[in-house]
Amino acid sequence: MSCRQFVKGNEAVAMAAIEAGVRCYFGYPITPQSDIPEYLARELPGTGGTFIQAESEIAAINMVLGASATGVRAMTSSSGPGISLKQEGISYMAGSELPGVIVDIMRQGPGLGGIDASQADYWQATRGGGHGGYRIIVLAPGSVQEMYDLTMLAFDLSDLYRIPAMVLADSVLGQMKESITPNPRPGCTLPSKEWAVRGWADGTEQNVVKSLKLGDGEMEKFHWEMHARYQLLADKESRWEEFRTDDARLIVTAFGSTARISRTAVEMAREAGMQVGLLRPITLFPFPKQAYVDLSRRCKLFLDIELSTGQMIDDVRLSVERDTEVAFYGRPPGAGSLPTPEEIFEQIRKVYP
């Protein structure tokens, strides 16, 4: 127990980043994620890393682009409005095949909205809120421990596939405190960054990091290569959690904080003798389609629950077997209001076959 630490989800993200060897953090304050820059402002310099509070989210993502182009691990974090401002930069990183980690601690929108939890940035994160057609890796933690573990994973996947990676959580996960085990960085072999700009003194050929593609067929080739890489991601990196799905006649599906709340509701349903299970996607991109295919072979009724009027529901419907019904409970949260297990249990009762 000694090495366990009682920390906020946001702090867990920052701790994991340092353990993952992040060299540069560039960010701009915004609630409910400011604990991340605040933690790193304190701790990163001590590890020889760079912390800069950028003049804006746009400057921050472009500093990440520059640092990442040299081959070091770099990250930024923000929430709704700030993430929107980063879309051009993220699109450039994707177009330049640059790794880099972006943390989005979701708050309410649209616009200034409010600082309480929301899951309405699902589409922005998984479809590419930026221009030009690209995807980024999106990981959705469901506990403070996962805030730590998935931040670590985000760096590795991003380096491995040369695709920006996003940790997508919300103010519940960012602000809640739990005891975690700060696991050491896993030994994982990554390709060396041949492509990085270093100055030729490092004996490399000229390296150019760019997204402009004017050569004959260059752009088509890029898009189909990325398409294949996304497929590879789906095959090798899809992650999800199942809870009591084996004999389930109804499968609740939700991600992040909502999944955490739903799990308790599922337990209530089980106590009430209902055969209900939970399917929690951990990777939102790649979306764990296969899990839905397999489960929908056995169970023909799903209940999708989101802190929005419905976004992930598209991916669920596109994933399950055609003869599967997908019910939906949307709960765009308001100031100080979140769905309770009781509330979700009520919904389970309503749709339970």
């Binding site: 127990m1 366990r4 009682f6 609630t31 400011s34 409010g114 600082i115 309480d116 403070v144 519940v172 602000q175 809640m176 405190k177 739990e178 005891s179 904080s257 955490r260 709340i261 799990r263 308790t264 509701a265 337990e267 100080g336 979140l338 769905p339 309770t340 297990p341 009781e342 509330e343």
Partner: protein, 184 residues
């Protein structure tokens, strides 16, 4: 065994510190904890509230609809949260600032403690939250008093460790009041 509690008051009453204190005490006892704060616009602002869940197994949902116990430090919070306590539960109110009629909460044990008064008597009005924690421990039996005293080290910044003895007094005073209350 699973315990959940709401702690609510206005900014400055030390609601979050109280939540942290209970959390660290539970951790000291080797239990699992999740602590979930919530506050107003952007970062600052009037009302402060947090939920603490203590469990031997998984803590489950950080969001609780109906806690078994609520610690209420001011009137606004009482009006907003007291009604949510689940039947059979406790509601510990700071009677120095809260008007609460018995009738208000059918099926819920109302424990009135003049926390400001006690704190002031002990010489520091800011110890209201400590009195409250003592009261909670005595009322719920969720934690042992000594664990609370242990937890002070972790939940207070170094520079405030000098206040630990005073805080312990406040905690005990809170606990004592509850025992009296339950006794008679």
């Amino acid at each position: 065994m699973r315990h959940d509690v709401f702690i609510a008051g206005y900014g400055g009453q030390g609601v979050l510190l109280a939540g942290n204190l209970l959390s660290y005490a539970a951790i000291f006892e080797g239990r699992n904890v999740s602590f979930f704060p919530s506050y107003g616009v952007e970062k600052r602002g009037g009302a402060a509230m947090c939920t603490v869940i203590i469990a031997d197994g998984e803590t489950g949902s950080p969001v609780v609809g109906h806690p078994s116990v609520a610690i209420i430090l001011n009137q606004l919070s009482f009006d907003k949260y007291a009604g949510k306590v689940k039947p059979g539960g406790f509601c510990i109110v700071n009677s120095s600032l809260v008007e609460a009629g018995e009738s208000a909460l059918p099926g819920v044990t109302l424990i009135r403690i003049p926390m400001n008064q006690i704190a002031v008597e002990l010489g520091d009005a800011r110890m209201v939250n400590m009195v409250a924690c003592g009261a909670y421990v005595a009322a719920s039996g969720a934690l042992a008093l000594p664990s609370l005293c242990e937890a002070l080290k972790k939940s207070l910044p170094e520079r405030n460790h000098k206040f630990i003895p005073a805080n312990i007094k406040a905690i005990e005073a809170g606990a004592e009041r509850v025992r009296e209350h339950l006794a008679g």
